[in-house]
Subunit: 478 residues, 2 copies
């Protein structure tokens, strides 16, 4: 081996970012990406919009093809190559070419593990029946859309390639989908499936959708689901699946049995760490690969980035597992830079996310009230209802803003919002506030943009800060 070489396991967000930033800094070095799929560098976050048919062409989800990665960035991409083991002593990775079934051992100077996450798939009886889907890879999205397309168009299905059969033939009963898990992907899929005229039932274990979000926000989402005809079953545990002719037809829960034509398991993701663990790489928060602020693992010259790695939650200063696409890109880039000899730190995240749920924008950053409770932070929660536009200006919409603040310091530690417009980017202002450890008093002083079409003269962010400050005074008097 002549040239210095980076090997990257995984070719989606973090992996391709790592290879790209490495090659940008060291064009003379070699970067090899091992990807167990045909596709690299795709935006899985857009899959609900592909399934809904808002996006017709799956290629729009792919930001980089292996050919372009090679031609324009000088990256060697080995698609359909599954990495099987890492030998840290010899500094090699062994991979199998899934098509040729040939094993290859590739040496590395630097290794980035970017194996991503895996969908949680509990061992329910019947879990292996047909038409039970997860939604993580491009293939998952393609499979789901193909199934819905076939059902909703009632195409006659003949020949060996015909996997999905509408058991009702040409009968025009709408398709029934069961979504297991009321998290953000589950919520996005409600919109997606309703757009396809599919009947949707959501099964959620907890007392609310969207995990640990505050009920001031989740109540708004649940109202919207009801208005859109989604059947939400809260506090319900799925126990097993039953089927006919190998395909799922019934969801068995502790609250009864539900007929269904497909199941979507969106219970969450767990870090894909097997290859790392086998190589002696330590795990940290949430079972993800333990990394320092330079994204180095415990083994020299091995980095980890993206959905397989932990990150510092900057609000608490503690490591956490918060797998999100934007973070994967940032971590990948920095891991690649450091592999190329830079000394760049990834400070962490504050946990900012936004989800479109029908015409609602729902966003969060920092700690939820439940997170704060678990962290043992003496906090309080304050909610206001503001408006997206000046009352004078037509068609303004309500915005609900919930702040979580630390009692002792008055510092904002989390914020959540729901509304029909102006939510997705307002949360970024609060994410910036968290990054800077701003107090409610600081936030109330922010000089935010005002014009009647976009805000009230006291922006909801400021109103929420002022109301929370009053609440803080009261809390402190108690």
């Amino acid at each position: 081996m002549s040239a210095e070489r980076l090997v990257v396991i995984g070719g989606v967000a973090a992996g391709m970012s790592a290879a790209s930033s490495f090659k940008r800094l060291k064009p003379e070095a070699e970067a090899i990406v091992l990807q167990n799929d045909h596709f690299i560098s795709y935006g899985a976050c857009s899959l609900p919009y592909y399934i809904s048919d808002d996006v017709k062409d799956i290629n729009r989800l792919i930001s980089l093809s292996p050919e372009v990665a090679t031609k324009e960035r000088g990256i060697t991409v080995l698609t359909r190559h599954e990495a099987r083991s890492i030998d840290p002593a010899r500094k090699t990775v062994t991979a199998v070419d899934l098509d040729g079934n040939e094993e290859k051992t590739i040496s590395y100077d630097h290794l980035v593990v970017a194996t991503g996450g895996l969908p949680v798939r509990p061992p329910f009886p019947g879990i292996d029946l047909g038409h039970i889907f997860t939604l993580r890879t491009l293939h998952d999205g393609i499979e789901i859309k193909r199934f819905i397309d076939r059902w909703t168009t009632f195409e006659p299905c003949v020949g060996p390639q015909c996997v999905y059969v509408n058991p009702f033939g040409a009968e025009k009963r709408p398709m029934r989908a069961s979504i297991v898990g009321g998290g953000s992907i589950g919520m996005e899929m409600c919109e997606s499936l309703r757009k396809r005229r599919v009947e949707v039932t959501v099964f959620e274990k907890m007392d609310r959708v969207l995990g640990t979000m505050d009920t001031s926000i989740t109540n708004i989402v649940e109202e919207r689901l009801a208005a859109e005809g989604v059947n939400l079953m809260k506090g319900v545990s799925v126990q097993s699946f039953e089927g006919d002719s190998g395909s799922v037809t019934r969801v068995i829960t502790d609250k009864g049995t539900f007929d269904t034509d497909m199941v979507l398991l969106v219970i969450g993701a767990r870090p894909n760490t097997k290859i790392a663990v086998d190589a002696g790489i330590e795990l940290g928060a949430g079972g993800a690969i333990k990394v320092d602020d330079h994204l180095r693992t415990n083994i020299p010259d091995i980095y980890a980035a993206g959905d397989c790695a932990e990150a510092t939650q900057m609000v608490t200063g503690k490591k956490a597992y918060i797998p999100l696409g934007a973070t994967a890109n940032k971590q990948g880039r920095i891991a690649g830079e450091n592999a190329a000899g830079m000394n760049n730190a990834f400070e962490g995240v504050v946990g900012t996310a936004v989800t479109k749920i029908f015409d609602l924008e729902v966003a969060r950053t920092g700690l939820s009230p439940l997170d704060a409770e678990r962290e043992g932070i003496d906090h309080f929660v304050s909610t206001i209802k503001g408006r997206s536009r000046s009352t004078a200006y037509p068609e303004g919409k309500p915005i609900t803003v919930t702040y979580v603040a630390e009692k002792a310091s008055g510092r904002l530690i989390g914020a959540q919002m729901a509304g029909n417009e102006g939510v997705a980017h307002r949360i970024d202002t609060l994410a910036t506030a968290l990054y800077n450890r701003m107090t409610l008093e600081d936030i109330a002083r922010l000089d935010l943009a005002y014009a009647p079409p976009f805000a009230t003269v006291w922006d909801p962010i400021l109103v929420a800060a002022n109301v929370a400050l009053k609440r803080l005074q009261k809390e402190r008097q108690l």
Copy 2:
């Protein structure tokens, strides 16, 4: 005089905020507001949308009537009372009841001067002709709309109350308006008047619209104006107006003469300080009333707030005159709180503003490149074109982001943006960055919300920071 008394001169944004916050803290004390108009507490920023007919009812612009202010907040509002002089030695204000023409002398314990701004009205020959309007008060807006309404509906005009005559009778030539000044109100009025099918010519002295904004942004605005049929005359000085029968019909400039049916003078605002100056109150930045961080003037117990007062531009730490509605509300509130015995500071502004210009959102915060030059700050400017949504998601729109950064520190000192969506609130993230004196490197690390309908995975804010960082490296190598 028994109860402690606050007197406020001016009853719009700052004045009513001051009286309200004072009464909230001291319900037993008295608060008297002197307002030279029928109306108090109105949102002048919405006037372009009233004139455009987006807002039909002028009452929607009024957030508080004198009756409600008295009933719900215990504030004594003396409308149509013009304050004429302040006697700081005796602690009295003399005002004239404009209806009864009666002079009243009112004593105060605390005084808040909230006299606002006045439109700049240069002494052009012919300036006093009819149909030459300014746009500042509710009355201004009502007059302009009434004039356009009459013209565009071709109502026959009879009787002594008939002020506006369409000189072309029932002939259906569209009305022609001349806007003098290409600032943000001028730009908003372009949209407003085009919606009313009025032909619009804008006369701007400078080489661009929107004052000191960067040409990377103003070029986009100017393209939009052209597409909407607005005739923009840049680098043109208006010299005089000429008319027929007492009404303006021609604008005389150094580049020729233009026929017109109305003129809108929106050249800017200057602080209304006569009463303050006469009382010995010192002036500061931009001829506005000099205030300390507690909004105290040089005279004990006299505060100033709103468009008549200066504010600290936090980016430079220097006093400046940046009259904006949201600032007026904040300053008024704090002046009232301090008059009530609190010890609250108004730290200042970063100069954040957003304007809707047709379907464009145009925003700024901090220093423009020209501002930075004037301040003698060694800076550089970096512009990117991003997108409002993921490329996969339909109907994304371009967003142009321009950063101004200090070379030595790499600190962001200003940001400007233009685009069709997602601009108005993205600027707030950068305003928050300025408040916290963040560097480009800090900004590149922000954990911003990502979902395909709202952003690209690297938000335009992050892309702009990364590109500016590369530029910074180059600048430093030079």
